[in-house]
């Protein structure tokens, strides 16, 4: 491994990390702004122009808050919970192709951290670890509401992960590859997977909402019943980590949706533009981020439209609607694949 390669990978990793954090930071502002506009309000606009300094102020406030730890909490697990959530939220960005190849000085640089051939499996694995952060945090708090939230989170994630996997398996079936890079590359131009997999997309986006603990699936932290759910006992930056990781998760989930169903960095008429491949890559990355921004907006849009599910409705929906739907989609896809190949 030469120093050249190492610098490239390290700078890419650093760039992605900083970008995720920055986007998550401003997603909090966007969320509040969007919520304001949906409710005929203005949202925060006191800190800086358009409230642009609001995330900084929020972060500073969280740092200044008292670090509270319940008397009978398990100290190690109590700290592990938010750390794990944050770590896992950031991990899954490694396999997302943020763009095509950049050719600098005759060497191709891929804008993907790691093009592993089981990228989809890796994402699943990482996302399912995400629930541990919530569970451990809820358990270690030694508080009944936190525990309730943790239990809910666990059962919710398990029920929705299955349908989500099945939705992606159909993508894997049509693509014939588990590598995210291949899946994106095959959607060249306008051949996006959404055209062939509308049901799969519907299942996937619903499950993505559930996995991110966003409304209407935010039962683990529902304020009205469980005070704060799994993060009831958390304060200061530990709470900040939980809240922040939600937005990172949202960012990653939007990136996954864009990559798997909406062509990732591909955009229509990319072959007839007649510009150099480097420019195509740069435009592609910009297009990817536009798609991501749109889906993050959809996340917020849904949040400020729909009320929260009741717990039994949530379970029924997951097992009796989404899972059969994903299964039927799987079978249909297999059937069509046999028929037209």
């Amino acid at each position: 491994m030469d120093i050249h390669f190492l610098t490239y990978k390290l700078s890419l990793a650093g760039g992605i990390l900083l970008l995720s954090l920055l986007i998550a930071m401003y997603a909090t502002l966007l969320e509040r702004k969007v919520a304001g506009f949906f409710q005929d309000r203005l949202g925060p606009n006191r800190a800086g122009t358009f409230g642009l300094l609001q995330p900084v102020a929020d972060g500073l406030k969280l740092f200044m808050k008292e670090e509270f730890m319940p008397a009978n909490a398990d100290k190690f697990l109590y700290i592990l919970g938010p750390s794990l959530t944050m770590l896992v939220a950031l991990l899954s960005s490694a396999v997302i192709p943020w763009g095509g190849n950049l050719n600098i000085g005759g060497v191709d640089y891929s804008l993907q951290m790691a093009d592993i051939n089981i990228g989809v499996l890796y994402t699943f694995a990482v996302v399912s670890i995400g629930v541990y952060g919530v569970m451990i945090g809820g358990w270690a708090s030694n508080n009944k509401y936190a525990l309730m939230g943790a239990v809910r989170a666990a059962s919710q994630m398990i029920s929705y992960e299955l349908a989500m996997s099945m939705a992606i398996v159909t993508i894997v079936m049509t693509t014939g590859s588990l590598s995210v890079n291949d899946i994106v590359a095959q959607q060249h131009g306008f051949n996006w997977n959404i055209w062939t997999q509308p049901i799969g997309f519907l299942v996937f986006i619903v499950c993505a909402f559930a996995e991110c603990n966003r409304t209407p699936f935010d039962l683990p932290e529902c304020e009205t019943e469980l005070i704060g759910g799994y993060h009831t006992e958390y304060s200061s930056m530990k709470l900040g980590f939980y809240l922040f990781s939600e937005y990172i998760n949202m960012f990653i989930a939007s990136a996954m949706i864009s990559s798997l169903y909406f062509g990732g960095y591909n955009f229509p008429f990319m072959d007839v533009l007649g510009v150099s491949p480097n420019w195509i890559t740069i435009i592609g990355t910009a297009v990817l981020f536009i798609k991501i921004a749109f889906f993050m907006f959809v996340f917020m849009w849904i949040r400020w439209t729909l009320p929260r599910f009741r717990y039994d409705q949530l379970m029924r929906f997951g097992w009796k609607v989404l899972l059969p739907m994903a299964m039927v989609n799987l079978i249909l896809t297999g059937f069509f694949k046999l028929l037209f190949k």
Partner: protein, 194 residues
């Protein structure tokens, strides 16, 4: 329980139907899309927020807000500490201490007697305007200014430093003291002024 279902107190009750939902309704998707449409339509609506310190909500011409103790044309305080405002105050918010004017204070006070201390407790005040009506010297008026928020209770007791209008920046009360109001108030033939 109502024994006879035909007898109703009002005719506003509705028969609730427990009918099975149709397939389209059970899909929920049309309803969700409709909801999304509604929220999106609000997204582009004009915001109702009034950004207070910069933009003030318009109030009526005769709005009853923070009081002012007026000066006359020569800049002398009009108040003579008669105590009628305190007497008329239903919330007992006004208190004052009277003092006699000395010869070297002729340019400060209009009458021989004046209020050395004049305090209104803004937490007690109900802004009814009775003090203004009672005042025979046209000294106290309610204005369209607001009482600012404070963090200490004592800060709401406004003394003369906050109530008396500054010499160089007279406060306009012409909307509340129109010519009609003034003639009516000063009319000795009316029973209220006898």
């Amino acid at each position: 329980m109502n024994q006879n279902p035909k007898i109703q107190l009002t005719n506003r009750s509705k028969v609730v139907s427990n009918k099975e939902m149709t397939f389209m309704e059970r899909l929920y998707l049309p309803a969700i899309l409709k909801g999304l449409y509604i929220t999106m339509s609000h997204f582009f609506k004009k915001e109702v927020t009034i950004q207070y310190p910069e933009v003030k909500r318009p109030v009526s011409d005769i709005y009853r807000g923070l009081h002012v103790l007026k000066r006359d044309d020569e800049g002398r305080e009009r108040c003579t500490a008669c105590g009628l405002c305190a007497l008329s105050c239903p919330a007992e918010a006004i208190t004052m201490v009277a003092a006699e004017r000395t010869d070297d204070e002729l340019h400060l006070y209009r009458e021989e007697k004046y209020a050395s201390i004049y305090e209104i407790n803004m937490l007690r005040c109900i802004f009814c305007g009775n003090c203004e009506t009672a005042c025979p010297k046209e000294a106290i008026f309610l204005t369209d200014r607001f009482v600012a928020s404070e963090t200490k209770r004592n800060a709401f007791v406004y003394g003369k430093d906050k109530l008396v209008e500054p010499k160089d920046a007279p406060i306009d009360i012409s909307k509340r003291q129109t010519a009609e109001v003034k003639t009516f108030k000063l009319d000795k033939s009316k029973s209220h002024n006898k």
